[in-house]
Amino acid sequence: MAFDAPEDLDEFRTSVREWLEENCPPSMRTPMKDDEIVWGGKREAFKNPDSKVWLERMGEKGWTAPEWPAEYGGGGLNKAQARVLQQELRRIKARPALFSFGLWMFGPALLEFGNDEQKKRFIPDIVKGKTRWCQGYSEPGAGSDLAGLQTKCEDKGDHWLINGQKVWTSYADQADWIFCLVRTDKSVKHEGISFLVFDMETEGVEARPIKLISGSSPFCETFFTDVKVPKDQLVGKLNGGWTIAKRLLQFERSSISAGGFGGTGGSGILPPQEYAKQHVGVDETGRVSDGDLRARITDHLMYAKAFGLTVQRSTEEAKAGQEVGHTASIMKYAAAKMNQDKCELLVEALGTDGLGWSGDGFAEDAKKATRGWLRSKGNSIEGGTSEINLNVVAKRVLGLREHQ
């Protein structure tokens, strides 16, 4: 990393500030609305036209991926500069220009494991939000035991031939491309897995949305029937996919624990203590009159505060060059517990107002809280169950052995 004299950074800050002043549309400086989130890709409708302008401008600078190499369309910034950009974006309360599995998961893995040609082909469109990616990992028979996956990939000389089924593929029905784990050798488990990417419009690919208990359908079942994939779309080595998969799961877990959870409820939902004050009431000293609920809300708030401080601590420790593996590995588990506790408290504090489903009989925020509570049950299942995460902590961090 190049050393930046403070004055250089000051200069950079000034230029960022000026650029943002000129280029960030006013409506992009207001709190994000749930239905105005931009995921990019061919099907992106840009409900708010300003969000299109904002994405184009940020994408052109490479600032959707500030630290990725400029030769592939990234921002090419060093850590200090990226931090300045982050601060300046926060200062004007700018919305993220792009939400993207390409940015959070696939891109970092491709930069690490892909060849130059693949990076040139895929990274620029991730940065600009032109391609929307989905992840083909879980299968009906391979959930927590992901390496047990069976989707078959045969070498047909001039192409790969894929047959099988994926499940829990996030937004597969809206994605342009998929990065996918497939079995290239049945005789071994982890060493028989490869990492492929292909177009979702390829013949033989079909995505069917799954309706969840919350009523929404963010996930799909994805079927592959004699799907032909060009040979140059294998990432990394043949049978070397598990290494990439594990690395990518780290990116996924850290992006989930950094706040990418489904079920937080979205905008307009108040913190649980506010609903408790409104619906349960307060005593003459201003305390929520249900002491038991009040204590549990407080316990949750403290947990959330402790979580936030731990994120801050691990960021600082990483900056200071200290080992942070310990902290990172517990965050997915803690984030799931924190979010689920919050969602339960919201519904409990709302009372019967938190038990509506649809229609005018219930307020919008209350209905969101209810749906969010249902959605949050997936937090301890998706991206590695809490039990699997505790196994990881026990084995990798605490050094405990596997049962024989």
């Binding site: 009040r294 403290m302 402790a306 979580f307 401080l309 803690a334 052995r401 049962h403």
Partner: protein, 378 residues
Amino acid sequence: MSFVLSEDQQMLRDTAMAFARDEMPVSHLRELRDGGANGVDAEMRGKLAELGFFGVLVPEEYDGVGLGMVAMGQIMEAQGRTIAATPLLQTAVMGASALILGGSEAQKAEWLPKIASGEVTVALAVDEGTHHAPLNIATEAERNGQGYTLNGAKRYVPDGHHADVFIIAARTFGEAGQAHGISLFLVPNTADGLSVNALNTVDSHGAAHLTLEDVAVGEDCVIGAVDAGWEVLEPTLDRGRIALAAEALGSAQAAFDMTLEYMQTRKQFGQLIGSFQSLQHRAAKMFTDLELTRSCIAAALSGIDENRNDVAELASLAKARASDLIHLVSNETVQFHGGIGMTDAHDSGLYMKRARVQEALLGGASYHRDRYAKLNGF
């Protein structure tokens, strides 16, 4: 907020950790207990003083080193690792803080150098009931011609059984429950009318009940303004709470390490018990709680040094989470060790006994949850 130690702080931490390990291991507390010392050890106090530990908060102009709370927290965590009995919490943290925050120039000049050198031990005496309730002060300080006359009682004062001087919170106005009307008084242990009843406590650290019968003190013994002692007392207590939380964190980490080691050596059914998933998951959850709590304590310690305006909130966060943590970890330490954990010969029990004292002193988790909720407006 700073989470990374400076070089000075890291050096002090290393020194304190090595000292606790080499000079004050758990076996030392055992020796004190079995010898009937009730946690008092003049020789050890001398060694702590030589290392400069009593003067960490005391500014250099009063012969201290003025390194601040983050530094002090490292020492507290170290002594927590071996559940060592030292006068540091009362003398070096709360005694020093009360004087630094509220003392007159004369009081500072007289007492701070003696604190820094380890020459005197101080004990802050606040609580009068069985549960921490610093506003519920009923001990009376009545104005007389030359000064004040104190009447009342204090319960379970840590280090009370060997303190040279007390800081007594008494009421000069109003009634129990009110902040206004509390005043702080320096009272030497030789004062007429003061009786000190030493207690044999479960953690073998000792403590004392105090009775004050017509104890006369001069006007120059008031710390801070009369009736406005709360303005000094509350931030002093918060420093104590944060320091005690750091101590409890050290104890929890040490008990956890001991448990982890046992999981990797003890075999049943031909397997290491550490390979059993039911134990692995409980250990992983404890580890998560340890890491989350460590962040809260680091934030609270640096919050003091940075003079942040949310110190009260951070102190309650740190003390509540540390209390819950040490409660859980000390119980699990006994359970994971099985039968051996129930024996006096094993250290598990000593950690659990000290844990309950760490929890109760200066307010347990429920006290601080209540305070945190109030500070957050509900």
